[in-house]
């Protein structure tokens, strides 16, 4: 392995470590090393409260980025996601607070609305051959307009006198014991999958990786899961948003890695004409991927609006760009055909760590924008630079 491949493999972890070390040094220096006068401050960046906060932000952007990831895999794009997030959240708030619908019903209706809008955009892109950039740019403006009409440029809270399902999305934490039980179930499921995978390979006479390595890796992953649950439990427990992200990530991982649909996404992004001639119903796959995007937009809309506590005109602003940036930082190719779920989660973590740390340091919004832009450009430049032959 030469320097280039080493750099390529570890550039993202290094970047993340760099960002974390920077914020730890800036924010937690006194707490960890003392202020030089014998006094120790309180943890800020690494405090359980902030880490939980960070994970909630990570989960919200991550969910949207996972939807965007599948769109980008096919070589398409969705610029309307951020406006959609605002619109779906706005519809839900208005239905609950002004129309007095029950929260689950309102969310179901808004979710169905998201699916309908995105399947409409997908159909226009596929059947009328309008480039996705244009359709979703139109969607970005139109949805934003609808959004403001729906909330009448006002601020609609997510809850009335008491909590509802909508508001609980970002305020509910899994109790400590339930967290450990869930971790145990996940660990058991992972072990079962590993065992079945090994059995299937040997049943087909294929070489099976050494047992020690498989189980050691599994033990490390399970250990990491329990460690994380324990950390969360020291504050409030596992945030519901994180569970939503985990379920989404598992779903997208299964779709992209283990189903024909996922193969077709990579095939279409790699070479659409060849995909057509390979018998893939490209139109149906593309509409399908937009419908899935509609679903992730709706779920993100619930989370983002609930996280802000109310639906106001700025909810979801520029979120599509955060999602695209997270994908691209994580190695997803904008022209399609390349990218992984792990990469997207990693890219999201880099993005959100940066946003969170700058929040804590009270960096001015204008500088925050510039920093986000620079990180995006740097990441893509590095990726292209290192993958050049």
């Amino acid at each position: 392995m030469n320097v280039r491949t080493l750099l390529k493999t570890f550039s993202m972890p290094l970047a993340l470590a760099g960002i974390w070390l920077f914020f730890i040094w800036k924010l937690d220096h006194d707490a960890l090393l003392g202020d030089g006068h014998g006094g120790y401050g309180r943890l800020i960046f690494l405090s359980p409260r902030n880490l939980t906060q960070l994970i909630v932000q990570f989960s919200i952007i991550g969910t949207l980025a996972l939807g965007m990831f599948m769109i980008l895999l096919t070589g398409q794009i969705d610029l309307s996601a951020g406006s959609g997030v605002g619109l779906i959240g706005g519809i839900t708030s208005v239905l609950i607070i002004q129309q007095h619908w029950s929260a689950p019903l309102a969310m179901l209706a808004a979710f169905a609305g998201g699916l309908a809008l995105w399947s409409l955009m997908g159909t226009l892109i596929v059947k009328e051959r309008i480039p996705s950039f244009i359709i979703t740019l139109g969607g970005m403006l139109i949805f934003r307009g609808f959004f403001w009409m729906v909330i009448q440029n006002a601020t609609i809270p997510v809850k009335g006198l008491s909590d509802n399902l909508f508001s609980l999305i970002t305020t509910y934490y899994l109790p400590a014991n339930a967290g450990f039980v869930l971790a145990g179930v996940v660990a058991g499921a992972l072990a079962l999958l590993q065992w079945r995978g090994r059995a299937a390979r040997s049943a087909h006479g294929l070489p099976v990786p050494p047992a020690g390595r498989t189980w050691l890796r599994l033990a490390l992953i399970v250990g990491a899961i329990f460690f994380m649950v324990d950390r969360f439990n020291r504050f409030n427990g596992l945030p519901a948003t994180f569970l939503i992200l985990s379920a989404t990530a598992a779903g997208v991982y299964f779709l992209t890695r283990h189903t024909p649909f996922g193969r077709y996404l990579y095939a279409i992004g790699g070479n659409e004409e060849a995909a057509v001639l390979s018998g893939i119903n490209v139109d149906r796959v593309l509409i399908g991927v937009y419908v899935l995007m509609g679903a992730t937009v709706a779920v993100t809309g619930f989370m983002q609006t609930a996280y802000q506590g109310s639906s106001s005109t700025t909810v979801g602003d520029l979120m599509e760009l955060d999602a695209i940036a997270a994908c691209v930082i994580g190695g997803t190719a904008l022209k399609g055909g390349r990218g992984t779920v792990w990469g997207v989660l990693f890219g999201t973590l880099i993005m959100t760590s940066l946003l969170n740390g700058m929040d804590l340091m009270a960096v001015e919004p204008e500088k925050r924008m510039i920093a986000r832009g620079i990180v995006l450009v740097l990441a893509v430049w590095l990726d292209m630079r290192l993958s050049r032959p």
């Binding site: 087909h204 189903t259 193969r263 790699g270 060849a274 893939i280 119903n281």
Partner: protein
Amino acid sequence: MPSPLLEVRNLVKKFPGVVALKNVNFELHSGEVHALCGENGAGKSTLIKLLGGIYPSGSYAGEILVDGRPVGFHGIRDAEHAGISVITQEFALVDALSVAENIFLGRAPRRGLRVDWLEMHQRAAALLKDFGLNLEPETPVGTLGIGQKQLIEIVRAMDKKSRVLVLDEPTAALTEQEVAVLLDHLRRLRAQGTTCIYISHKLDEVLAIADRITVLRDGASITTLAVQDATIPLIIKHMVGREITDLFPRRPGWSALTPTRLEAAPAGQRGEGAATLRPSNDQAVLSVRHLNVALAKGKPEVLHDISFELRAGEVLGFGGLMGAGRTELLMHLFGAWGHRLGGEVILKGGPHAHPTPGGSIRRGLVLASEDRRRYGLILAQEIGFNLSLSSLREFTRCGGRIDAPAEQVRNQHFFDSLRVKAPGQHTRAGTLSGGNQQKVVLGKALMTGPSVVMLDEPTRGIDVGAKLEVYELINRLTAEGEAVILVSSELPELMGMSDRIIMLHEGAVGGEFARADFAQEKLLAAAMGHAHAA
């Protein structure tokens, strides 16, 4: 003796995991046409990329000398400064610009800040006239044929005062007429002192144009022959390292087998399935009747009144000039092209009225396209990904999950039986040579278990060894009872491998020939619309 114009000494070029060039030596004398021959993967393209400055100095070992002095190119511009112009299979022409703009691309004559259009057009007109090309400088390049585009590239290279013209497979996509025109131009340029490296798989062309021939095999230069000492069998022997006795080893398929052997063959099959599979001369697996197809709804008709029948175990060849409608016919039957105006297609006894590629594949009709890189493969993905792409249904278990081990085993079976030359099925398809890419395309089509296999130019741009393997595959398919449609621009191949040939002429059937009637003149006459004159 003066030092050669260009000399290559002990060139070695390694890629991660592959040695592309092991040891290449050759000399290029001023004023000669020097042919490079070798199978795909022998290292010709790599060598050209080194000479053209695409792989920069320092990325390889060995020496390149121009006029006896070692040179190191850091980019295409360096190579062009040294007088080396490379013309590849992918043209560096902009379709939307005119002939003159393309000739002077990036170096347009200027007056102040403005382009001097008058001078550009005058100079272009003069160049075209010098070259004997009857073209207007204002013509958009996109409206020209491939042969003319090729010549425009050569004109451009000549105007850049190139001393060495490197032509990589210049005739791969040309008709015989265009090839003749190109070769005439090259002879004239040689008479004027231009030196040329000529790479082609078509050995008869090589013998017709080259002064000397260097054969590459497995990344090493094997020998350099003077043209008067070279014969096609000798060149092939050096290229493959062994002698090939039969260039077109067509064996009769199932339909030609005797009844007794026929009964012995599908012993396990009884009842309905065996009955529909049983080949007989009156039952066609595919019949096409009075087919008329337009490019799209409301557009002019392209295919006119085409009728034919295809029987199990048969190879039906389609020939014709470029633009005769062969590819369009295949793409239409497959469901990827055109709007049907009339006629019917019967596939395995049922109508095939509104075909889609997916539907055709499910019903056992597959197509291996002529343009592998564009239509055949997902180059950025692994061989295995490509092989199983059309057959994923077969491996999908409950819950929509792909049974990865089962898929891998099946991929490996095709990888091995097609003898794909690669480290393994996890190698990326884009890194393979043309012949191996073609094997992957064929493997993808065959994995679906087809009964009719349509092959569009299956041997274009692939080397002799791989061609033979494709022919053997055709024999194997027909022996198993599959029917094959073979489209080829090379008449010897078409005649060698087909049981029957239909020549298309301007979108209509120009003539149909049984094997006993195959004769090059008759076929060509039919292709040009003179079936009855011949």
